[in-house]
Symmetry: C2
Subunit: 171 residues, 2 copies
DNA sequence: ATTTTATGTCAGCCATATTGACTTATTTAC
DNA sequence: GTAAATAAGTCAATATGGCTGACATAAAAT
């Protein structure tokens, strides 16, 4: 029992714990994003399309700039995906009222339906994990996850109710 | 106060909570993987190289099959990356003793050094998040993350000490 | 009137993944 | 001992989703 509390052993436990953390993130993200791929393939879409649909659905009326900031990609990368989604009637663009340079993005009915379909499995996966882990564990999960996220992005996760009406960002 | 406990409101809270879960996973993974990219670029490597180096470092002597299963990619995809890492002296292959068809993978000294450098920031990020959240939150985090991971991969995360010597998998 | 901003587009490049077909050693099974 | 299965590798073609750089247009801000 002496060595169990030894420094070396503590270091080993810590190293193992941290590595498991790294790997849990890898596998959770991998398994989590794998599910919608089948559905996306039916539409000739990829994960990039899902992300766009997701975040437009999340913040209806979001500007292109804000969407770019959220996704963390260049406008050229977004362009290909977004044009497709607009062309195929999943997203509509309407000029901003205050600033007519903006093209505010919204899901169409078709877009909402696809978003639902794509995200449903993921929602269920999270719901199941939350349910099985219990409320207290979920609080711990949130706490650690927020610590992992860059400080600049933490404002996206209000403790309780988010402000309604205006989506996040400058818009 | 009446509507706070109403069914609609509960559903909204639940929907919001689940969506935040989805998004936390997205941002955490994004921010988490962004850091090593700078270092990788110096070597002309990408994230795929990091993953290979990481898991070979994690399970020295791992077989190509096991590595493929862990990464969840095809051998053709692995091939390019792995050949590069072998050619540039970050990984060595040695024939398996029991089964000489196998090419067991190990990091060289150079490989270990790079793995350290690449993973160090990630380790620190996790360590900080764990430290700030506290032991109880970490337990909750683990619980939820394991629930998110496909059942088949959960065996990779033993509650306490992993078996020493032989790495996981059939090997 | 000039500059800045929001958005879009063209062109080319790179990394990483895929499928399919085929090869070479080696081990396992009959 | 021969046949079948397995571990690993390779060649070729393709798709996806990023990137940079350069340039265009309209609207807002100075």
């Amino acid at each position: 029992m002496a060595d169990i509390k030894s420094g070396v052993n503590l270091l080993f436990l810590r190293e193992e714990e941290l590595r498991q953390g790294i790997e849990m993130l890898f596998f959770a993200y991998r398994d989590f994003t794998a599910e919608p791929d089948v559905i996306l393939a039916d539409y000739g879409f990829g994960r990039a399309h899902h992300r766009v649909i997701y975040f437009v659905g999340r913040s209806p009326g979001i500007t292109v700039s804000d969407l770019l900031a959220t996704l963390g990609i260049t406008k050229q990368s977004l362009s290909r995906v977004l044009s497709q989604l607009v062309a195929e009637g999943f997203i509509i663009q309407t000029p901003g009222l205050r600033d007519r340079r903006q093209r505010l993005l919204e899901l169409t009915g078709k877009g909402v339906a696809l978003e639902r379909q794509l995200t449903e499995e993921q929602r269920q996966r999270i719901a199941r994990a939350y349910r099985e882990a219990g409320a207290e564990a979920v609080q711990g999960f949130r706490k650690v996850m927020l610590g992992l996220i860059d400080e600049k992005d933490r404002a996206r996760f209000p403790q309780r109710l988010p402000a309604r009406g205006l989506p996040r960002g400058r818009s």
